[in-house]
Symmetry: C2
Subunit: 208 residues, 2 copies
């Protein structure tokens, strides 16, 4: 299915709110209510939903359980996705502890580091391997997604290594713009840049 | 200055690479070289730069120091921006240790938590206050930006509190879509959603 990237980015958000509604015992939700909860205008929601066929009824709203089942399938929430974490420093450790499990069916199943104080141990329930075992573990565990939380100067090298081992998607927390073959999906989340952009927006508002 | 959001998001990236070039002793950079380094096409770079007046010369490229000075002013890199961190859990602690200082002129100057084991201490050089002191500290330190790394169920309450204390921009790491007055800038960085979106894209590629 070919859907716009903007729509795809909103799907996990829809899924999240439907889960909350479901857990609260709600059976249906009006399109206005849904729009207010996710803070996306009703027209965009209707357009997003239209890519998957008509999911709501005029004057009735949306059936929570139906929608939830639907998005669960779309987002593959019914099967577990294993992810590798490369770099168990401060941010890496925080992500291991967080481990996405409360809200998604994604789980960090292996950590990698070079620091002998970290490797060979289980941290927050996840084994941390020496980076030498990276290729074998990623291949053995058929891991397709890696989170990169390593120092900038080794980011490209480790990206190359996880790709060589079979990874198809990288969530890049380093400030480096990684080079990769075109079939590899890279999502960069540079926290410093995000914070700087926020500061810039505030500042340019002040000057108006 | 009113520039498109997409342009504003690229400014910190431009700044980052110019700093690297500057530190490496480079005096000028061709537009091709710059484009390859930041992985943004030359046309977009030219358009972005055009919002700030003509910054390059045809056949010469860009003067690194000139550009760097220019973006430094735009991004207010010549003065320190203090930021509050609300919620010193795993992710909060990781952000305190990271503290953005290597690459930006932004610094977390105060942390807040309710856990008595965390408060009243200095963590990674930053004082962690009890959340009761939030209003006083944010106002005393004239902090305009807060990073929110708290549990979902208290996210809105704490957002309201930092806004009441004078904060104008929130970097929201919680899965909650925060409500705020329209003059408040909110940037949500929901790591689980980002990871889920990445997984979804890989998956929909597989099916093609």
């Amino acid at each position: 299915m070919n859907i716009p990237k903007a729509t795809a980015k909103r799907l996990p958000l829809y899924y999240r709110y439907l889960s909350i509604l479901h857990d609260a015992g709600k059976k249906k939700v009006s399109s206005t209510e849904f729009s207010e909860a996710v803070q996306i205008d009703s027209a965009s929601i209707r357009r997003d939903f239209s890519y998957f066929g008509a999911l709501g009824k005029r004057g009735y709203g949306y059936d929570v359980d139906d929608l939830l089942d639907f998005f669960k399938k779309i987002l593959n929430q019914d099967r577990l996705t294993n992810v590798a974490l490369v770099g168990v420093g401060n941010l890496g450790k925080a992500l291991l502890n967080y481990n996405f499990k409360s809200s998604t069916n994604i789980r960090i199943s292996a950590g990698f580091d070079i620091n002998p104080e970290m490797t060979g141990k289980i941290v927050a329930g996840v084994p941390v391997y020496d980076v030498k075992e990276l290729e074998k573990q990623i291949s053995d565990q058929q891991i397709k997604i890696a989170i990169l939380t390593v120092p900038a100067d080794v980011a490209q090298k480790l990206a190359d290594e996880v790709i060589a081992a079979g990874v198809k998607g990288i969530m890049n927390f380093t400030p480096i713009r990684l080079s990769a073959p075109s079939d590899i999906q890279i999502q960069t989340l540079d926290l410093a840049t995000e914070l700087q952009t926020l500061a810039y927006f505030l500042d340019s508002k002040d000057k108006k």
